[in-house]
Symmetry: C2
Subunit: 136 residues, 2 copies
Amino acid sequence: MDPAVQPPPTLPSASQHGTLGAGQSEAFAAIEGDPNNQVYVAERQGRVVGTFQLTFIRQLSYGGCLVAQVESVHVHSSQRSHGIGRVMMEYAIAEARRRGALRIQLTSNVRRTRAHEFYERLGFRASHKGMKLYLR
Amino acid sequence: MDPAVQPPPTLPSASQHGTLGAGQSEAFAAIEGDPNNQVYVAERQGRVVGTFQLTFIRQLSYGGCLVAQVESVHVHSSQRSHGIGRVMMEYAIAEARRRGALRIQLTSNVRRTRAHEFYERLGFRASHKGMKLYLR
């Protein structure tokens, strides 16, 4: 059975699946209050087995395009290779299309070659370097 | 003289520097109304010579961290190699620190090796692949 992907309806509901620290609770509230930012969970048999975040960034280029950015893709370690990541990313792509995004994008650690192949099978192209600078 | 980096104060002021189409005007208004999304311009001698966009994405990971994302970095073709990109990116890094971001990130086309060296000099590391899927 494919897992169902959905936004967690409320903080109390989502927090049933685990413990949120104070910083996370504030972050959850901020994300819930932002129409361009959403955390999704994948559930299978009533259990959260995966999560990702989808953020929409409005830009001036290409006539004021919308860019969909995927962050924080995680599948529970006991649930890998069951197609959960595929279902989640197909959901993200469909949601990006529904919102009229020009493109959907993400970064994946250079060491995660199997993840790159996974994203390439979904149509992503590794056209860019993902450059990061940690500030603390 | 180093260029001054600043958010364009209003749409009419910014549009003095060029013509915005309808889609861009709507996008500009949406960006101006979003406290997590800002377009900056670099001015030298009263002239816009560069621009970039800085978006802050609140996440649940790392205790509810904030991620600063740079997009749409452009320097006017007549003004390259004058340090304008450096001033803009130093401004972006300082703004990300001021907001308490855990990291600042961007993607750069794999063909732009000089740009990668530029970002590495600023402290960025090409730790990830930047994967994109165009939807139209």
